[in-house]
């Protein structure tokens, strides 16, 4: 039962992280190149635009859910399972979600990169 809870929490971390990353990425694409915007309009406008973006706020909320799911997962399972499993599954989940929701061109090069990094993280933290 404990194993089931742990994996449930790991999936919750992965889901919330992917949702958070996708929302934050979309928010920042809407804001535009921060460096250019700062040169043109100043730092205050940059901060206002970011904090006023609804996708950004939802992204931060999703990241908070991911953080609390991590706390739950760590209270049920070992860190040596939770950390690498969540991190590497998030890499794969992000590649899929970025292709579907952000319409990023995830070509073979990027799939291989996501796969290698996910495998590497699993080995490193395991």
């Amino acid at each position: 039962m404990r194993v089931l809870y742990t994996w449930g929490a790991i999936l919750a971390i992965v889901f919330a992280s992917v949702v958070g990353d996708v929302l934050l990425s979309r928010a920042m694409k809407q804001v535009g190149d921060v460096g250019e915007l700062r040169r043109r309009s100043g730092l205050r406008v940059v901060i206002q635009r970011i904090l006023g973006n609804s996708h950004f706020l939802m992204g931060v909320a999703a990241m908070s859910v991911a953080f609390f799911s991590l706390l739950f997962a760590l209270s049920w399972g070992d860190v040596s399972l939770v950390a690498p499993a969540a991190a590497s599954l998030t890499f794969i989940g992000n590649a899929i979600a970025a292709k579907v929701f952000l319409h990023e061109r995830v070509d073979r090069r990027r799939w291989i990169a996501a796969g290698l990094v996910a495998a590497g993280v699993a080995l490193l933290a395991g």
């Binding site: 694409k29 319409h103 990023e104 990027r110 996501a114 590497g120 080995l123």
Partner: protein, 168 residues
Amino acid sequence: MNFRKYLVLAGVTVFAAAGDSMLSHGMKQTGSISIHHLPGVILAVLNPWVAFGIVLLLAFFATYMTALSWADLTYVLPATSLGYVLLALVAKFVLHEHVSPLRWMGIALITGGVGFIAGGPEITKHPQPVTVEHSAERSRVAVAEEVGAVAERPSTGNAGRERWREEP
């Protein structure tokens, strides 16, 4: 990609790795906290290592947001995963911890993954606007241009009428 952008990606990598290390070091000093003793969390924040770790993680978040403003998510995430490698190298050469062959293999895989995306473009160029806000802005601009064009267009009919009104 210019030097400034590589610097931002390096910032994401270093701030995340350093922030996590500081936080981890500080939390080992303060001891474990539990949900039933929440004041313990506040005491943990007062630990200088934890406080500095939080500052570094805020810097990580700022650089991560900056990177996402001009690069794809599927570019930024693998590119900044070198932080894991950095942590393992710090563990080996600074903290003199044992790094197993399996971990060295993990380092090799991550480095290979970063090498794969490094040569590619950092952002997908969309032929048409993706977001609702962008398309709304586009249509506003288009309407404004249309209105301007109509206003500027010489209208002989109106001009004729104006002349007719002025004449008597």
